[in-house]
C-alpha cells in the first residue's frame, strides 16, 4: 500500500542517498556536505589516525572554528590555553588530511551554520551533517541536514557515509499572515511551546503553509535551526524562488547555465500532493504574538503579554522539571512575563546572527539608546556578516546606541569562551537554548526574537516590541 502513496520531500532526498539498507537496521546514508568545527571533531580525527586511514573524500568536508573562540582581538593568539589547543588541533588535522579550513582570520570564517548558506555551500537536495545539533538550519534550503555525534563524524571522515535509522515524517503547516512585530523566531518559539521539547522526537519536520512561504531565507533558517529544540532530527522547507534568488551568485553556487540547470532540478524538490506524513499539525498565524521563554528549556515559552504559568497549567508529566526551572529562574508563577528587569541582551548565534537579524535590530534601535544598566552584545554570525554590517552603517548605529559589536563566533550562546552572563543575571537572548547555565554558570536566559531583544535593551525590562514600533 505504502509504495503507491506519493513521496514527501524528505523521502525523495533521503532515498536518493541510501547506499545500502541493512536488514532490520539503519540505512547507509551518503553525505554530500560535511561541516566540522573545533569542538566535536578532534576525537574523530584521532580515530581515523588510530585506524591508520585517511579521510575518504576530503573535498566534501569544510572546517571552521566557531564554538570556543574569543569574540575580541581575534588577530591575537587565543589566550585560553585549552581553546587554543583545540583550534590548533583543527588546523593541524585539516592540513594533514587536506580539508578546507576557514581559520580564525579568514574572510569566510564564522558559525558553521551561517557560513554554509552564505557561501552557497548549502544547496537544495543535499544531505548535510555536522557534529552540532543546529545543522537542522540548512534544511531551510530543502536539504536533509541534521546534527550528529563525534563517532558519526568519524564515520563521515572515513567513508562519507553514516549509519542512520530513517526518522518518521511530520508536517507543520502555518497559514495566515504574521501580525506586525511577529517574526520567524516567534513562529518557531510558538511551535515548540505547543509541541514541547520532545514533540518532534523521532521525526523530520517539513514546514509548510503561507507563513513559511512568505519568510525570507534568513527567517526560514531561524525556523529550521530550532527544529532540534522540539526533539526533531531536522526541519526542511521546499525550495522556491526565494531560495534560488538567495543562492544565485553565492561563492560556491553553480554559475550561469549550470545554475539554470540546477534550478530546474531543484524545482521538483517538494512533497507530492498525495504524500502521507506520520503526523500533521496546523497552526494559525493570527494566534502568534511575540514570544519569549520563561523556563529552562525552549518549550517553556509564552506570549510576551502572558504570565508565568501556574504549575496546574503545565503538562502533568513535566511538572518536576517545571518547578525546578521556576526555582532556577527565580520567577513566581502567575506574575506577568513583561516588565521584569533585564541585565544582559545577546543578539547573535546560528539562530539569529545573520545580516537580516542585525538589520532588524539596527532599524529598531536607530535614534534610541540602550538602558544604562543593560550590557548589550551583538555578535555577527560570520566575518561576512560583520563586514556587511560595517558597510551598511549598522555597526555604527548599534555602537552609538551603546551596543558592543563583537567579532564572529558562537559566543554567549553556549559561553565556551569568555562571553558569559554572570551568575544570577537575567539575559534576553536571540540564541536557541535557555538550559540551566547555558550562557554561563548560574546565568538565566529568556529566548526571544531580535526585535524583542532590542526592545529589552532599550527599556531595560522585558518589553513587548510592538509597543515601540
Amino acid at each position: 500500500m505504502k509504495e503507491l502513496a506519493g513521496k514527501t520531500l524528505f523521502d525523495k532526498i533521503w532515498d536518493a542517498h541510501v547506499v545500502e539498507e541493512i536488514k532490520g537496521g539503519p540505512s547507509v546514508l551518503y553525505i554530500d556536505k560535511h561541516l566540522i568545527h573545533e569542538v566535536t571533531s578532534p576525537q574523530a580525527f584521532a580515530g581515523i589516525d588510530k585506524r591508520g586511514i585517511s579521510v575518504f573524500r576530503p573535498q566534501h568536508t569544510i572546517a571552521t572554528p566557531d564554538h570556543n573562540i574569543p569574540t575580541v582581538d581575534q588577530h591575537l593568539t587565543i589566550q585560553d590555553e585549552l581553546s587554543r589547543f583545540q583550534v590548533d588541533k583543527l588546523t593541524e588535522n585539516c592540513e594533514k588530511h587536506g580539508v578546507t579550513l576557514y581559520g580564525l582570520n579568514h574572510p569566510y570564517q564564522g558559525i558553521v551554520h551561517v557560513i554554509g548558506p552564505e557561501l552557497g555551500i548549502t544547496q537544495p537536495g543535499m544531505t548535510m551533517v555536522c557534529g552540532d545539533s543546529h545543522t537542522s538550519t540548512h534544511g531551510a534550503f530543502g536539504s536533509v541536514a541534521f546534527g550528529i555525534g563525534t563517532s558519526e563524524v568519524e564515520m563521515v571522515l572515513a567513508t562519507q557515509c553514516i549509519l542512520q535509522p530513517k526518522p518518521g515524517k511530520m508536517r507543520i503547516t502555518v497559514d495566515g499572515e504574521l501580525p506586525k512585530g511577529v517574526t520567524a523566531k516567534d513562529v518557531i518559539l510558538y511551535i515548540i511551546s505547543k509541541i514541547s521539547t520532545s514533540g518532534g522526537t523521532g521525526y523530520f519536520i517539513e514546514y509548510a503553509g503561507s507563513v513559511i512561504r512568505s519568510l525570507s531565507m534568513e527567517g526560514r533558517m531561524t525556523v529550521c535551526n530550532m527544529s532540534i529544540e522540539s526533539g526533531a532530527r531536522g526541519g526542511i522547507i521546499a525550495p522556491d524562488e526565494t531560495t534560488f534568488d538567495y543562492i544565485k551568485e553565492k561563492e560556491f553556487a553553480p554559475k550561469g547555465e549550470e545554475f539554470d540547470r540546477a534550478v530546474k532540478s531543484w524545482k521538483v524538490l517538494k512533497s507530492d500532493e498525495d504524500a502521507v506524513f506520520d503526523q500533521e499539525l496546523h497552526f494559525d498565524a493570527a494566534d502568534i504574538e511575540p514570544m519569549i521563554t520563561y523556563g529552562t528549556n525552549p518549550g517553556m515559552g509564552a506570549k510576551i503579554t502572558g504570565h508565568i504559568p501556574f504549575v496546574e497549567e503545565t503538562e502533568a508529566g513535566n511538572r518536576e522539571s517545571y518547578k525546578k526551572s521556576l526555582a532556577y529562574m527565580d520567577f513566581e508563577a502567575g506574575t506577568p512575563i513583561a516588565g521584569r528587569k533585564v541585565d544582559y541582551v545577546f543578539v547573535g548565534s546560528c539562530t539569529n546572527g545573520r545580516i537580516e537579524d542585525l538589520r532588524e535590530v539596527a532599524t529598531f534601535i536607530k535614534g534610541r539608546q540602550k538602558a544604562d544598566h543593560v550590557t548589550a552584545w551583538i555578535v555577527p554570525g560570520s566575518k561576512q556578516v560583520e563586514k556587511q554590517a560595517i558597510k551598511e552603517g549598522i555597526a555604527d548605529v548599534l555602537e552609538k546606541a551603546g551596543f558592543q559589536l563583537r567579532q564572529p563566533g558562537c559566543s554567549a550562546c553556549l559561553a565556551m569562551n569568555d562571553d558569559k552572563v554572570p551568575e544570577g543575571k537575567l539575559a534576553v537572548s536571540t540564541s536557541n537554548r535557555n538550559f540551566e547555565g547555558r550562557q554561563g554558570p548560574g546565568s538565566r536566559t529568556m529566548l526571544a526574537s531580535p526585535i524583542t531583544a532590542a526592545a529589552a535593551a532599550v527599556t531595560g525590562t522585558v518589553t513587548d516590541p510592538r509597543s515601540m514600533l
Binding site: V19, E20, I22, K23, G25, P26, V28, Y30, T40, P42, Q43, A46, R51, I53, F56, H67, N68, L82, F85, Q86, K89, G131, D132, S133, G147, G149, T150, S151, E152, E154, M155, A158, T159, Q160, C161, L163, Q164, P167, T197, S198, T201, I228, E229, G231, R233, N297, G317, N318, E320, S321, L414, A415, M416, E423, R433, F435, E436, G437, P441, G442
Partner: protein, 206 residues
Amino acid sequence: MSTKKFHTIESTAVPLPIENVDTDQIIPARFLKATTRDGFGENLFRDWRFDKNDQPKTDFALNSSVYSGTILIGGKNFGSGSSREHAAWAIHDYGFKVVVSSFFADIFKNNALNNGLLPVQVSEDFLSRIFQAIEKDASSMLKVDLKNQQITLSASGEPSLRARRSQSERFDINPYKKECLLNGYDDIDFLLSIKETIAQFEQART
C-alpha cells in the same frame, strides 16, 4: 577496531527523577575543550553535583552514599538538546553501563549506542515503579538482559526476596545495534568494509 562486548548487567541504580535532562546539564559546554574521549566523568552533571566553590551538593543523587551502581535512571526525554557525544562519554566514563528512561532524545540515543552505553526505554509505569522501589529501598536490584531484551526490577536487594517480588518488562532495540553491542562490532569497521559499494554509488550518481 572492535569495542567491548556488552553483557547482562545486574546492579543497583542511581535515580534522577527529573524530566528533560539536557546534555548541557550532563556535561556543561565549558568542559568540552578536551581533544580525547577520556576523563569527562569527572565533570558529569557538574553544576548539579557541585556548588560554585566546587563542594559536592549533598542532596544530589550522585553524591549520596545511599545510591550506587552502574545503572542510571532518568526521567522522560533524557538527553535532549546539544548533540555533544561528550554527554555519553561522561556517563560511561563515570562508570554507568545503562541509562533507563521512558523516553530518549534521538541524538543522545545514537551517541550512547555508539559508545557501548545502553539506553533502555521502558514504559512510564515501569519507570515510576523503578523510582518508587529505589526510593523505598536503595538496594533494589535491576537486571538488564540485552540478549533477551528484558529489564527486571527486584524490589528488594535481599536475595531470598528478590524472586518473589521481581517484575520485568521487554525493551526495544534496533536488531543491528543489538548485534553490534553483543559482539563488540564497530560501525566504522562495517562502513569501511563496504567502501567499494560506496565508491560505486558515487560513480552511479555522476
